[in-house]
Symmetry: D2
Subunit: 92 residues, 4 copies
């Protein structure tokens, strides 16, 4: 059901790093660091999340979506779902 197995360890490493970045943000706020530095760090986390998201999206398209199309099974459903998630991605 998941298409990202071959990247799993890489994704987990990235998410661990992102978790560390969020913990770093918590520390920055606790230490009352300069607002703009906090905002810059938030942007860095968003950028890192976007990259993880794009990896998952690529795997999903090359895996689940491609398979659904090849097997002509729930093609439209899976593409609509893909469009929906891309649209939400574009708006966050």
């Amino acid at each position: 059901m998941s298409s990202y197995q071959d990247k799993k360890e890489n994704l987990k490493t990235r998410l661990k790093r992102i978790e560390g970045q969020v913990r770093g943000l918590h520390k920055m706020v606790d230490e009352e660091k300069y607002c703009v530095d906090v905002l810059t760090q938030i942007n860095a986390v968003k950028g890192a999340l976007n990259k993880v998201g794009m990896e998952v999206l690529e795997s999903h398209t090359k895996g689940c979506v491609t398979n659904a199309i090849k097997e002509e099974e729930k093609e439209d459903e899976i593409i609509n779902e893909l469009m929906d998630v891309v649209f939400k991605f574009t708006n966050k």
Copy 2:
């Protein structure tokens, strides 16, 4: 230097929750959950980060930026810095 002191505890609570959400993402990937569910969760984290960012941005504008303007000290510098961070925010 930081303008968000009065929201500090609230921001820390939110960041703790976001840290938990990222840990949840890690678990989802580890358990090979469905790609679109992972993507939906990534979007949720981005949304939560955006909200924290907007809180910090508001505090910064009402605090640091307002003070710089009132004291006519490095006004342009601080507004350019603000614009820069908003622009980066818009592009992540």
Copy 3:
């Protein structure tokens, strides 16, 4: 080569409307309307463009991408291209 033929007239109507919105923006600036009203209108145009983009993206995925996958022709190439354009979309 284009997958949006069946929506062509609808897309053209929307783009005509967007053109009108941009012309409206030009008029607003010429008449020195309030900054925030100009910004709100810019956001409206971006929102309308996003919707057109999502329509084209959906057609593209259901058309060109689906065909490439079914015919097993340049599958990876067309999915990489898709990911690339989605990524750029996410960052504008």
Copy 4:
């Protein structure tokens, strides 16, 4: 009421160009150009609109917002309005 007077001609020139870009998009759709080329062009228009938006935002902050703060008149109101428009900007 508007803070962008000194950039007015520049903004109008840019908006004229954006109007031309949208007309170009209309032509591309009419000629059934390749989907990804249409999407790339939509991204270009969004990028150009973002730049106009950032210019207006900068003028607004250096003008209207700064004045409201200096004159201590409706400060909070104008900053809340600013945050609101920035937030919408971030989500389109």
